[in-house]
Symmetry: C2
Subunit: 167 residues, 2 copies
Amino acid sequence: EESVVAGVAVDKGQSKITVVGVPDVPGTAAQIFTVVAKADVNIDMIVQNIAASKTNLSDISFTLPADDFKKAVAALESAKATLGFDSLQLDEKIGKLSIVGSGMKTHSGVSATLFGALAKAGVNIEMISTSEIRISVVTNIDQVDEAAKVVHTAFGLDGEAEAVVYA
Amino acid sequence: EESVVAGVAVDKGQSKITVVGVPDVPGTAAQIFTVVAKADVNIDMIVQNIAASKTNLSDISFTLPADDFKKAVAALESAKATLGFDSLQLDEKIGKLSIVGSGMKTHSGVSATLFGALAKAGVNIEMISTSEIRISVVTNIDQVDEAAKVVHTAFGLDGEAEAVVYA
Ligand SMILES: C[C@@H](O)[C@H](N)C(=O)O
Ligand SMILES: C[C@@H](O)[C@H](N)C(=O)O
């Protein structure tokens, strides 16, 4: 199946929260997101990688509208004893850049192109999350507009498609 | 915007590779996925969380068709010196469970329900990756069918929608 990259989306309206050092056992993720849901917080991306083999602890990150940031942090802090995390790693302003398209399940070449363009521009990739129709990276908010330009060029989208920019 | 969960998808045909302990600097992800692309490997999910603050090292995981597993491992092992990773954490058979729907950007309640159902069934969540239309978790392959049942029930999908099962 062919991969098609249709456009680039930039979102500069989000924050990121990482719940650091949680036990990799059933119930952990449920507890965290129940706390967040009860605080009436909207969520965009959730990213969790495998636990560290030595510690059996994992980190769970999520992004959310900047307007919900303080509310989410407060809810997690007050539940700290129950949730048992080590710390929260917070980033009130992040850049989220996505390439959107289709057939990206066969997309190792698409990923290599995206990551290569970012690397050449000196943009560090803080988080990666993908689906068949979207490859998203989190970057420093000050680098994301430049990142969008180089990614447009890398996929030959200049002059054809505008970056979709969210406030 | 309302969140709608339309169905549950189970995929038992994938493997997972984690490239452990890579420097969190521009170029790392590009190099890894260039090696993978050159090996002509198809990729499904890529998951990378933020680096560990003490070490500035990150882990990059990806899932792929089980048929591509050996080829991908071989390519990464032979590029080890260039890529500079600590180790590869390998899982030749994983379960991937997804809930598919729409409007899941406002989905903290949907995530809480999904993770809660898995927790109650004693299914450990190894990785999480989300988009507006899909929330995916990686589980042990032996638990994923049971996981699909409890998730169906949790979202009231019993009798209405069949789990979409990939070989
Ligand atoms: C880390 C977290 O995802 C845990 N494994 C759980 O199942 O809830
Ligand atoms: C870890 C990896 O994503 C690195 N930050 C990069 O930009 O390539």
